[in-house]
């Protein structure tokens, strides 16, 4: 279980996260909803060790993550699909997957499992990641993260700019991971997609987690979506 308690994060002198607390459990999808600049991406980066946590704690299965460098957070089993994919564009598909496999995972076996989820990648192993289509790049970003065999997966807008068929594929993969016991924290702007796969939703506003509730409750409270995200259900 991942427990975040009262964390504060800053970009320079600007405070982005303010005493934010959350919990993510194994086998659930926790979605973070909020307007642009609310602090959702910063929260994922703070968990990942890419933004320094000035106050508060992040504990994962009894291990403190808040003072670890990103490399050690990844080694403890936290996978990350960053916003905009951040693939190693000059490396091939196979090399991008290899990077994911270096830290954890069981080599070819893990890679084959990841490729089985996204078979289109298997045909493009020698192709440079930067030359893939947007959908294929997103598949590769997901597959690369899965090569770490994560127990917590952080997904930052994985459905951004994708075709409906690709979105439903990613949704299937996230549901599959949930069934496998992985805790997924998903930042997503597409409310319909969030409501279809989330177990719980946390509304983030001005760097604070305002309300966290089960997705069924969110469906019954369109006013919350209107208030925190600016859209109806």
């Amino acid at each position: 279980m991942l427990t975040i308690q009262n964390i504060d994060c800053f970009y320079g002198d600007v405070q982005v996260l303010r005493s934010l607390s959350l919990e993510a459990h194994g086998g659930e999808v926790l979605c973070l909803l909020g307007r642009n600049g609310a602090g959702k991406t910063t929260l994922l980066k703070a968990i990942m060790g890419l933004v320094r946590v000035r106050a508060g704690t992040i504990i994962f299965d009894g291990q403190a993550l808040h003072n670890l460098p990103a490399s050690e957070v990844a080694r403890s089993g936290v996978g990350y699909v960053p916003q905009g994919r951040r693939l190693f564009a000059e490396l091939t598909v196979a090399e991008n997957l290899e990077i994911g496999l270096m830290t954890r995972g069981h080599g070819v076996e893990t890679r084959d499992r990841a490729l089985a989820l996204f078979p289109a990648l298997g045909e493009r192993l020698r192709q440079r990641a930067g030359t893939l289509s947007g959908g294929e790049q997103q598949m590769l970003a997901m597959a690369r993260a899965l090569c770490l065999e994560p127990t917590v997966l952080l997904l930052d807008e994985p459905m951004e700019g994708l075709m409906p068929a690709m979105i439903s594929r990613i949704r299937e993969v996230v549901v599959g991971l949930k069934e496998a016991g992985v805790a997924t924290i998903l930042v997503e702007q597409r409310v319909d997609a969030v409501l279809s796969i989330a177990d719980r939703v946390s509304f983030i506003e001005n760097g604070r987690s305002r309300e966290t509730m089960r997705v069924e409750e969110v469906r019954e409270r369109p006013d919350l979506l209107q208030h925190y995200v600016g859209v109806g259900a």
Binding site: L50, S71, Y80, F88, L91, E95, E98, I99, T103
Partner: protein
């Protein structure tokens, strides 16, 4: 000259490409390699080949270890900030130079070539040792290419070069990669120096020319491009030599600097470098 320049420039290119550190002290690692080569070679009396062999192994190792220490004590503490590391490596340049002056002295001292023979072409003769230098440089360059393109360490280095933050998020210990790359860059300069020292002599100010030419090669060839570095080194090294012999060394430097200016204006990523997107 061109072969040795390729090695030196490759070290500089690797350090900038992966770490984004402009290592102004790179020429001093070259100088230190030469000075240590003289010291190692003089440990063995009466057998220049063995002395040279010891220097070829020992000098890069010592220089690499020193670079590792410099990385830990200076660059890492500056968080590899591009501007701060320029100032820091300028400081390192003077420290290394003055240490060499203090402990080695101001004299230029020769190292005896390990082998001495002459290759006679129909129209002129050529030092056999110089051909050995070309071959040895080619082997080292090939080794670096294999390291970068075919090994796990090379893959880690390339991933770190393309995106430091994402590399960290996948468990790559970037600070260790940086330390290794900084040491490797310094070792390449030291190998180049050991190879050239039987031709040029070891001197405490000998790092300045290789530094300038390495910067020119790296800018013309394209930062982080092994192919570009080698091609530019051959072109710059040979033209520098030819123009220096037939006209003047100053003119050679002027033309090289003019080439850099033109490359920066018309192709800022270098002849073989990838354009930032």
């Amino acid at each position: 000259m061109a072969a040795v320049l390729a090695l030196t420039a490759l070290g500089l290119s690797l350090v900038f490409g992966v770490m984004r550190v402009v290592n102004v002290a790179h020429g001093e690692f070259f100088m230190l390699g030469a000075v240590l080569a003289w010291w190692f070679a003089n440990l063995v009396v009466g057998n220049p080949a063995l002395g040279f062999l010891i220097a070829l192994v020992g000098s890069p190792l010592v220089v690499g270890a020193l670079a590792l220490v410099a990385d830990r004590l200076v660059l890492k503490r500056l968080d590899y900030n591009p501007e701060a590391t320029i100032v820091a490596t300028i400081g390192m340049l003077y420290i290394l130079q003055q240490l060499a002056l203090t402990f080695y002295g101001p004299d230029a001292r020769p190292v005896v070539a390990p082998i001495s023979f002459r290759v006679q072409f129909p129209w002129f003769g050529y030092s056999g040792y110089k051909l050995v230098v070309v071959a040895a440089s080619a082997i080292v360059l090939l080794g670096v290419w294999v390291l970068l393109a075919r090994t796990k360490i090379g893959l880690i280095m390339r991933a770190t070069q393309y995106d430091r933050e994402t590399a960290q998020a996948f468990g790559i210990r970037v600070d260790r990669v940086y330390a290794g790359v900084f040491a490797l860059g310094a070792m390449l300069a030291a190998v180049a120096a050991v190879l050239i020292v039987p031709i040029q002599q070891a001197y405490y100010l000998m790092g300045q020319d290789p530094l300038l030419l390495s910067f020119i090669v790296v800018i013309v060839g394209g930062l982080g491009s092994l192919r570009g570095t080698v091609v530019a080194a051959i072109f710059i090294g040979m033209s520098d030599g030819i123009i220096s012999v037939f006209f003047s060394p100053t003119l050679a430097k002027i033309l090289a600097t003019l080439l850099v200016a033109m490359v920066l204006v018309y192709r800022p990523q270098g002849l073989f470098g990838a354009r930032d997107t």
